[in-house]
């Protein structure tokens, strides 16, 4: 029985575990954000869709966190990794921790992340030398294709829709696009993961991501925003001011009632 009474766990971090936690935490935090739409989406079908996509992300996060815990070798299971880390030990993209915004912002973010994850899962499913990562990716890839298709449909509908829907989508693009740079900058964690055959350098995903996003935005009659010098850094544990609040929501129960299960 793992000790669930510790207030926080300390990670025994290697580049391989950090590489997997970057992906797993991105799924975990976006799953939590999308769950916020439950009961609040503009139409019932989208309420259901957001909750469904959220569940897929939580499932993918669970598999990756469990595997990262095994590689870490410190006896941490997926629940401890999900609920008992301090903020600096989460390595998700900053993009996914931003408040959910309006529906346009949420479907744009889903499209940006699903397109990126689809490309990443493809590479992991085909090339990872880690059997478990390959298996998780092969499953997740099928799900990511549906996420991308569904979200991109909405970007097109809203972008090429009414004056109001277009204004909302343009605003979402102007708010969120700058956070995409973090998806592609390569660092020592990437290099080590690539050298160990765990997964690709994220910089290799940039050209295909831009090509797919450009197609989607063109179909939506929207301009691809200009790049900016802004760099977010969530994948290295340096988060926006929103991260602490979402972690407080997620962690409250396990912090207040250590080891609570139902």
């Amino acid at each position: 029985m793992p000790d669930m009474t510790a207030a926080s766990i300390a990670l025994n971090l290697t580049p391989a575990t950090q590489y997997l936690l970057r992906i797993g935490d991105t799924c975990l935090i976006l799953g939590q954000r999308l769950g916020e739409w439950c009961g609040h989406a503009p139409i019932l079908e989208e309420d259901i869709a957001m909750a469904n996509i959220a569940l897929d992300f939580i499932g993918q996060a669970r598999a990756l966190l469990a595997h990262a815990g095994t590689l870490e070798g410190a006896g941490h299971d997926e629940d401890q990794l999900a609920f008992l880390r301090n903020e600096r030990d989460y390595f998700n993209l900053t993009l996914v921790e931003l408040p959910r915004g309006d529906f346009a912002a949420s479907v744009l973010r889903n499209t940006m992340v699903a397109t990126w994850l689809k490309l990443l899962w493809q590479r992991l499913a085909a090339d990872s030398q880690d059997d478990e990562v390959r298996a998780i990716a092969a499953k997740a890839l099928k799900e990511a294709r549906y996420h991308q298709q569904h979200s991109a449909d909405w970007v097109v509908r809203l972008g090429d829709g009414t004056a109001e829907s277009r204004r909302r989508m343009e605003e979402a693009l102007s708010d969120l696009w700058r956070f995409s740079a973090e998806m592609f900058d390569t660092d020592a964690v990437d290099e080590a993961a690539a050298a160990q055959g765990i997964g690709p350098r994220w910089s290799e995903l940039e050209a295909p991501w831009r090509a797919e996003m450009t197609d989607i935005l063109r179909e939506a009659t929207l301009e691809v925003p200009a790049d900016s010098a802004f760099r977010s850094d969530g994948k290295r544990g340096r988060h926006s001011e929103h991260m602490g609040f979402i972690l407080a929501d997620m962690q409250y129960l396990q912090r207040a009632y250590p080891g609570g299960v139902w």
Partner: protein, 176 residues
């Protein structure tokens, strides 16, 4: 049931398969977990029976219920002790749903999945709703004049459709 296992299957394994064919999926109770292709193998390790399951979706909340149900059924039939192991690779696909399963889905009012083209949703990335080419037949009136309302239905494995002939909504089991 894997082909290799058939030749050497013991009576206990055969009985376990028979029991498992009676365990219904909690989300689509018209089908058994075997019809859905979730049970991949039953292996006898001396005293213990290993039931190998492949989950349908990463986040399917029914997975744990299914684990519990198959164990309870096999142990309840006196064939235990049994344990469940999850096999992630190869990933579950709707191609594993049996012909019997497809017939039962249709009778239950859920349009069965078509062929799972690995690249289909990819190609459709930028197509807007209402312009998709894949025709899904209405499970009530068999009309192909149908339209998709949403890729996500009451569970992750289903999408929402409506029939433009009989005007009834229905669910479609997504090819994956």
């Amino acid at each position: 049931m894997s082909a290799a296992a058939v030749a050497t299957e013991s009576d206990r394994v055969k009985q376990a398969w028979a029991v498992l064919h009676g365990v219904l999926d909690p989300e689509v109770p018209a089908l058994s977990v075997c019809d859905l292709g979730i049970v991949r193998d039953v292996i006898e390790h001396g005293d213990e029976l290993e039931l190998v399951l492949t989950p349908t979706y990463s986040g399917c909340p029914a997975t744990e219920v299914i684990e519990h149900d198959v164990l309870a059924a096999v142990n309840g039939a006196g064939l235990g002790p049994a344990k469940v192991t999850l096999r992630r690779a190869p990933a579950w696909t709707t191609e594993w749903i049996s012909a019997e399963g497809r017939r039962k889905l249709s009778e239950y009012g859920i349009a069965p999945p078509g062929t799972a083209h690995a690249d289909l949703p990819q190609q459709a990335t930028v197509r807007v709703i209402g312009r998709r080419s894949e025709a899904v037949a209405c499970p009530r009136c068999a009309s192909l004049h149908t339209e998709r309302l949403s890729a996500f239905g009451s569970t992750a494995c289903k999408s929402l459709y409506r029939c433009l002939s009989c005007r009834e909504p229905f669910e479609h089991f997504k090819p994956i």
